[in-house]
Amino acid sequence: MTVEYRDVCYRIGDRMILDHLNLRVEEGETLVLLGRSGSGKTTALKMANSLISSTSGTVLVDGKPTTGWDPVRLRRSIGYVIQDVGLFPHYTVQRNVGLVPELEGWPADRIAARTEELLDKVGLDPGLYGPRYPRQLSGGQRQRVGVARALAADPSLLLFDEPFGALDPVTRVELQRQFLELRRTFGKTSLFVTHDVHEALKLGSRIALLSEGRLVQDLPPAEFLKSSHPEARAFLECLN
């Protein structure tokens, strides 16, 4: 799947949250949205699965404006890791992970196998954590369940909103490694939000830098490192 932002603005009152965003995510690419807190990253992401509608401009998914999609169909084909995780508190971990397959009517044994595989992949013992409820997990564990849930029904587009934010550095590196592996094997299109420049350089095939709702840089990591834009420099200075 491809995603394209065409002259997208988002306004709340007279505040410009997104200011004429033009951006294209190609098939198989991992575009990292980098920016400070409040720069509009989450807002841009939520437009791709139609959780937010732009004030003006068009967001196209697979070449079709999101307004022309059936929102339920659109969202079922997109895996979304929300910044606040948002697991269902009344579902066990395994049922949370198997949610979209369940909605899609997969047979129970296939859901169970898939759930187990994914929990394993994000480093949670399925036998131990599967039957638990979200409130019985740590913040980092919940976040990993959120990642597993997003991947469950094999979506063709992935939206990640700071998915590794609450993790310890060791698990974080481990999940980043798995993310890269996933990308290598499946080549899924992803939009990945972070404010960690390390993570951006490591995971992105391209880095789009947002500053106060405006796209100020859009470069592959190697070129981003050499950027002379003041906002890019500000981020790169965090590297030392």
Binding site: V100, L103, R135
Partner: protein
């Protein structure tokens, strides 16, 4: 014990239970869907809750009286009594349905939509299971109040344990008043306990 008192007590108690159950059934059937509706239409929320609030502040005897001259639902008798009891029971159920649905974590609601739940699935798979406890609390409060208020239904010929109370007051017979009041109080306690138990059982996860 006076002859025949026990038989009449049994009959009036069952009558009372029937009266309250019928009123509560209709109150739930009206208030829960209405609560769901106004939790989605914020503009309707204030007026609907205000209206239910006003209904509840009308002194119960007066409301019974107001209904008598109204055609179809009014008149002397059981139907009017049930209508009045329904009106009184609406507010707690309505309010608790709205509160329950609105207290669902915004992140949970958002992720549900992002996973591609339809609005109906959002309601039945997420919002209702997570607010079932709050709704049941509303139903319990309404039931307990209804059992008490229903004793006044006898004033307009609605039957129930109030028959004893009114007869007792008229003839200054304390035994008769107690024969109406004590079973009514016990019924209220039993309902409170029983519904409280169901609340515990049905809550999506015991906390």
């Amino acid at each position: 014990m006076r002859p025949g008192l026990f038989d009449e007590l049994l009959e009036l108690t069952l009558d009372h239970i029937w009266l309250c159950s019928l009123a509560m059934l209709f109150a739930v059937l009206i208030a829960v869907p209405l609560g769901i509706l106004i939790s989605r239409r914020v503009s309707l929320q204030a007026p609907v809750l205000a209206f239910a609030n006003v209904l509840q502040t009308i002194p119960s005897l007066a409301l019974f009286g107001f209904l008598i001259p109204i055609p179809v639902i009014g008149g002397i008798g059981r139907r009017t009594a049930i209508v009045a009891l329904i009106l009184f029971a609406l507010l707690p159920i309505l309010r608790n349905t709205v509160v329950g649905i609105q207290s669902v974590d915004a992140a949970v609601r958002e992720s549900a939509l992002a996973m591609g739940l339809s609005p109906w699935q959002l309601l039945t798979m997420v919002e209702l299971p997570l607010s079932v406890r709050s709704i049941l609390t509303g139903i319990r409060i309404a039931t307990v109040t209804t059992i008490g208020t229903a004793t006044i239904a006898a004033a307009i010929g609605g039957g129930g344990l109030g028959v004893f109370i009114f007869r007792g007051v008229a003839s200054v017979d304390t035994t008769l008043i107690l024969a109406g009041a004590v079973p009514a109080a016990l019924l209220a306690l039993a309902a409170d306990w029983g519904l409280g138990w169901i609340e515990q059982k049905l809550s999506p996860f015991s906390s």
